[in-house]
């Protein structure tokens, strides 16, 4: 393996080892290649369809009560995961970023879940 000595735009000397083209795209990542522009458009269309299902479920009165709330919350979680995973590249990036973000999410859900329980939100 040979090495290339380069100078970056910031002026720092940087010695970069040569890596084979098959090297995983991201260090510490989950080993997937990032989506192409066409795949991004596909994901956006999927998000639009899921939103349309959400709106139709509410407006057309297909469901009501607990089933409606379950469907809406499920679709919301799927949309959340799609945007965070694909558009924000969390699925393809370092697991440390995933950990840092989801610690915030889980802590918020736990904290405010307990807060709402204190005010008897869940029991009415």
């Amino acid at each position: 393996m040979s090495s290339d000595a380069t100078i970056t735009d910031s002026g720092h000397d940087e010695t970069v080892a040569e890596y084979p083209p098959s090297q995983p795209v991201h260090e510490g990542g989950h080993g997937h290649a990032e989506p192409t522009d066409k795949q991004y458009i596909g994901i956006a269309l999927l998000l639009a369809v899921l939103t349309a299902i959400e709106i139709a479920s509410t407006e057309a009165g297909w469901f009501s009560g607990a089933p409606l709330v379950t469907i809406l919350l499920s679709l919301m979680v799927v949309k959340f995961l799609l945007v965070v995973g694909f558009f924000m590249h969390l699925r393809f990036d370092s697991r440390l970023f995933t950990l840092v973000f989801y610690i915030g999410v889980v802590f918020a859900i736990g904290l405010y879940g307990v807060m709402l329980a204190t005010f008897h939100f869940w029991t009415g």
Binding site: T8, A17, A48, T51, V69, V83, F86, F87
Partner: protein, 217 residues
């Protein structure tokens, strides 16, 4: 410092100033203890902390959504088709943002600026829709202090609107800085950081739209 040199082989492609070489060299790309970009780590930490801010606002709204005065509640006020349209606009702005990041990674600067401008315009449309919605609600008698419901609703959606406005300022500033070549460090990473913020604003709206507008009170 001397000019950029390659000892063994010449680079296959000329890299524009302000962009890295497009490769994620394992353990060598970022000179940090984690081997990851500190900027990116800081952004994810910031977004994690933002979850707590919006979690507090959303749960407060959920708690007070039935505390209304003068029968002015969600059922009388919400215009779901209109809010759905603005939600769709914000959702599509996430697509244009990811296209900007993708173009920046390919070092297509003109296309990056175009997608960033389109994203800012879509964000502006969403914000205009929110201002219109607030105006309609106010004319119907729902002031900020009318009820606990109105206070928590305006605070939650207002905070989100402020985040969108900040995002638009960031996008337009980035477009201007890219045009004048004033971006310090790696341009693609800078675009990606603004993108992360913008997508987070979209993610928060996904939650607000479902919990505030769609889930029945």
């Amino acid at each position: 410092m001397s000019d950029a040199t390659a000892t063994d082989t010449a680079p296959a492609e000329e890299i524009p100033p302000g962009y890295d070489d497009g490769e994620d060299h394992i353990g060598l790309e970022h000179h940090t203890s984690t081997g990851l970009s500190n900027t990116k780590l800081a952004m994810w930490l910031f977004l994690g902390s933002e979850c707590l801010l919006f979690g507090g606002l959303i749960s407060t709204y959920m708690l007070y959504r039935n505390r209304q005065a003068d029968q002015l509640g969600p059922d009388q006020l919400w215009d779901i088709p209109f809010t759905s349209a603005t939600s769709f606009i914000l959702l599509m702005s996430s697509l244009t943002m990811v296209m900007a990041v993708s173009a920046a990674k390919r070092r297509e600067e003109q296309r990056t600026r175009l997608w960033l401008t389109v994203t800012a315009m879509l964000g502006g449309l969403f914000l205009a829709g929110q201002v219109y919605e607030f105006t309609v609600f106010y004319r119907e008698g729902l002031g900020y202090t009318t009820s606990l419901f109105s206070s928590s609703f305006y605070t939650l959606t207002g905070f989100h609107g402020v985040h969108v406005a900040v995002g638009i300022v960031m996008l337009l500033s980035l477009v201007a800085m890219l045009r004048k070549n004033k971006v310090l460090g790696d341009k693609a990473e800078t675009v990606e950081m603004v993108g992360l913020y913008w997508h987070f604003v979209d993610v928060v709206w996904i939650i607000i739209f479902t919990l505030v507008y769609l889930v029945p009170a």
